[in-house]
């Protein structure tokens, strides 16, 4: 059958040329080189020289060394910055923590690298000690996350202007991503065939461009937090002697878990995981929504507000549910509706009694304007009251606005056009066995009470 596409035709011509080349003798090739005026010997010598130059670097390129070099490079960078008068700011444990952890890690690798390049049991112990140390440092940031100190910074652009630590964080992230891809590539032979060694040349510029892209960087910052907590999870499991052995009996597992949970590191770890935002593209699936609601309830109960203000519409569905869940009196539950571009409460806030802490609840925060407007305008001038914002899902762009006063970010979406798995025009209802979100209007989400209680029980301590 005749080939059809131009690409097929080209391939045939190329193959024909290759076939002819195979039948061409060495002498003829040398003659052709002379005809073309190519100094083949010089070209070959140049190629061999270039390959020799790469050989040393290639010989060093194994996984351990790769990571080691990355971190040593960070260490050098830190030392250089220290010489330039840069020092970690005193404000915020998280900031100092990251700096300290990176430096400690770099020193550790640097010291070990001089003596021994491979991991041995002594190194493993140091790994465990380091994991616990990192975990304790991250615990501080975790506590802050539950409030509004925002340990991970979504506004990375301004962070770059404020100090230069973010450059190091970006580089660390980049190294980790490259390292991860490096490992994953080997796992898929098909992929390795499609992307042979030149993949590094393809990937590096892509990654390096991406890390400077402001839109991507926002997610990269969040992902870095996620990555850190996942690393801590693994490290903690190892440090605690957790052996995921399928043959272990239920009693043995329970006993092990009890011992692990008694550790301060474990509590810190749990705190970290509980308040980790989940990332979605443009929709929140039912499982994530239920989990987010449970996390919101946990955070709300811990914060113990004096009043809840639900944003009229979708905010009422979530607000009404959470109020009932934490057992708050209906007199302390308010609804903020928009009239002529301004939000007003359904009744005076003072009717709720003495109020010092208020949480403004919405289902979706697409831009952050609604929550900001209620805090700044509806409650403008009420300095004695602390206001917190709580939305089931917040778009990444919204975080810029609510960063100073959010209580928790259960779910963060890439797109502003994000949706929840129920009709936001509906309402909240409860039946004997279920919670119903988006009832009486279009799509609804029916959550069995038993299931929700189970999930709530699993969320945090």
């Amino acid at each position: 059958m005749s080939p059809r596409t131009p690409n097929d035709l080209l391939s045939l011509l190329q193959q024909a040329a290759l076939d002819d080349l195979q039948q061409t003798s060495d002498e003829e090739l040398l003659k052709e080189a002379l005809e073309d005026g190519d100094d083949a010997e010089a070209l070959l010598a140049a190629l061999q020289q270039r390959v020799r130059e790469q050989a040393d670097a290639a010989a060093q390129q194994n996984c351990t060394d790769h990571l080691k070099r990355s971190v040593i490079s960070l260490e050098r960078s830190l030392k250089k910055r220290a010489c330039q008068g840069f020092s970690p700011p005193a404000d915020g444990m998280h900031a100092a923590g990251v700096h300290s952890v990176v430096r400690k890690r770099a020193q550790w690798w640097g010291g070990k690298g001089r003596r021994q390049a491979t991991l041995d049991s002594a190194l493993e112990e140091e790994e465990q000690a380091l994991a616990a140390s990192i975990l304790m440092k991250l615990n501080d940031s975790s506590k802050a996350r539950c409030r509004s100190d925002l340990p991970f910074d979504c506004d990375a652009e301004s962070l770059v202007r404020r100090d230069r630590r973010s450059e190091l964080i970006k580089r660390l992230l980049l190294e980790l991503v490259e390292y991860w891809i490096f490992l994953r590539m080997d796992e898929f032979s098909e992929l390795a065939d499609l992307l042979p060694e030149s993949r590094a040349r393809i990937l590096r510029p892509l990654l390096r461009n991406a890390i400077h892209d402001p839109q991507i960087l926002k997610f990269a910052s969040i992902s870095l937090g996620t990555l850190a907590s996942m690393l801590c999870t693994s490290a903690l499991a190892k440090a605690s002697g957790l052996d995921i052995d399928p043959h272990r009996s239920a009693d043995e597992r329970d006993e092990l878990l009890r011992r692990i949970r008694a550790k301060a590191e474990w509590r810190a770890f749990h705190n970290l995981i509980d308040h980790e935002p989940r990332l979605v593209t443009d929709s929140v699936d039912p499982a994530r929504a239920i989990s987010a609601l449970a996390t919101m309830q946990r955070a709300l109960a811990a914060y113990n507000p004096d009043a809840i203000v639900a944003v009229a519409g979708g905010g009422e569905i979530v607000g009404d549910f959470l109020r009932k869940q934490i057992g708050m009196d209906a007199r302390r539950y308010f609804v903020a509706s928009c009239k002529d571009g301004e939000y007003t409460l359904d009744r005076d806030l003072r009717t709720g009694g003495v109020i010092k802490r208020v949480v403004i609840i919405d289902d979706i925060s697409r831009t952050g304007r609604t929550l900001t407007s209620i805090r700044n305008h509806t409650f403008g001038g009420m300095d004695a009251i602390e206001f917190k914002a709580l939305a089931l899902v917040s778009a990444a762009v919204a975080i810029d606005r609510i960063r100073d006063f959010f209580l928790l970010l259960p779910v963060v979406s890439q797109s502003s056009n994000v949706s929840v798995p129920w009709d936001t025009k509906g309402s909240y209802r409860t039946t004997r066995t279920s919670y119903v979100f988006g009832a009486d209007h279009g799509a609804r989400l029916k959550v069995p009470k038993e299931l929700y209680e189970q999930i709530y029980g699993d969320v945090g301590t």
């Binding site: 190329q14 024909a16 083949a40 070209l43 898929f188 499609l194 060694e197 030149s198 593209t281």
Partner: protein
């Protein structure tokens, strides 16, 4: 010089030393053969310089031997020059088939995500799975545009081939025969060429391509 036996790892793949030894042993004719292979296959790929393609091919087993992944060379199974020739083909082909690569990446990511999901579904990150595994509307549009661009480039390249050989009737007959998938015997019969005339025309065709393909297209 290290012996070949000791310069191979236990699994039969070449070590860095063995690859370096093979590079040092390349003859001028070997190099010319590889360079010409690169010249023919560069057409339609992102490569602009045959020497770059050859160098990438040579460093492939080097990086692989150093633990960097990629295609590894097994000296007992295939000669270094043939291995390099195949690697050049792979690199050029990889460079051409951007879309296919992307789709395969998606498939791999998708299956990886499914495996992960089956272990611990609640930890599956939508950013890592759905978005990556499912091409977006924008991505599809970009793919289609790339396809159109590549097809236009291929058309241009074919037109240049025809333009180059249009005065050489025998070579044009060979090209037409190749396109039709005819054998050398069939082509010779149709064109009434002797074996010598055919071999000479094939050589002109091959030499012509060398001067047509390099550095003419880019992605």
């Amino acid at each position: 010089m290290q012996s070949k036996a000791t310069a191979e790892s236990q699994d039969g793949f070449a070590t860095v030393e063995r690859v370096m030894q093979a590079v040092a042993e390349l003859t001028v004719a070997d190099y010319l053969r590889l360079r010409k292979t690169a010249k023919y296959l560069m057409g339609g790929s992102a490569y602009q310089d045959p020497d770059q393609l050859v160098q990438d091919a040579v460093t492939t087993p080097l990086f692989a031997a150093a633990g960097g992944g990629g295609r590894r060379w097994q000296p007992s199974r295939v000669s270094f020059v043939i291995f390099l020739g195949r690697t050049i083909q792979g690199l050029a082909s990889d460079s051409r088939r951007v879309r296919k690569r992307r789709l395969l990446l998606s498939i791999v990511a998708g299956s990886a995500a499914r495996d992960y999901e089956s272990v611990e579904p609640q930890e599956c990150n939508l950013l890592d799975t759905q978005q990556f595994a499912t091409p977006s509307v924008e991505q599809t549009a970009v793919d289609e545009q790339e396809d159109r661009d590549r097809q236009r480039e291929d058309d241009l390249l074919l037109a240049r081939v025809h333009e180059h050989f249009k005065r050489d009737l025998q070579t044009m007959t060979i090209i037409a025969g190749i396109k039709e998938g005819n054998s050398a015997h069939q082509i010779r019969e149709q064109a009434g060429m002797s074996e010598t005339q055919y071999a000479s025309a094939r050589r002109r065709f091959r030499r012509g391509l060398e001067h047509l393909f390099p550095g003419q297209t880019k992605l």
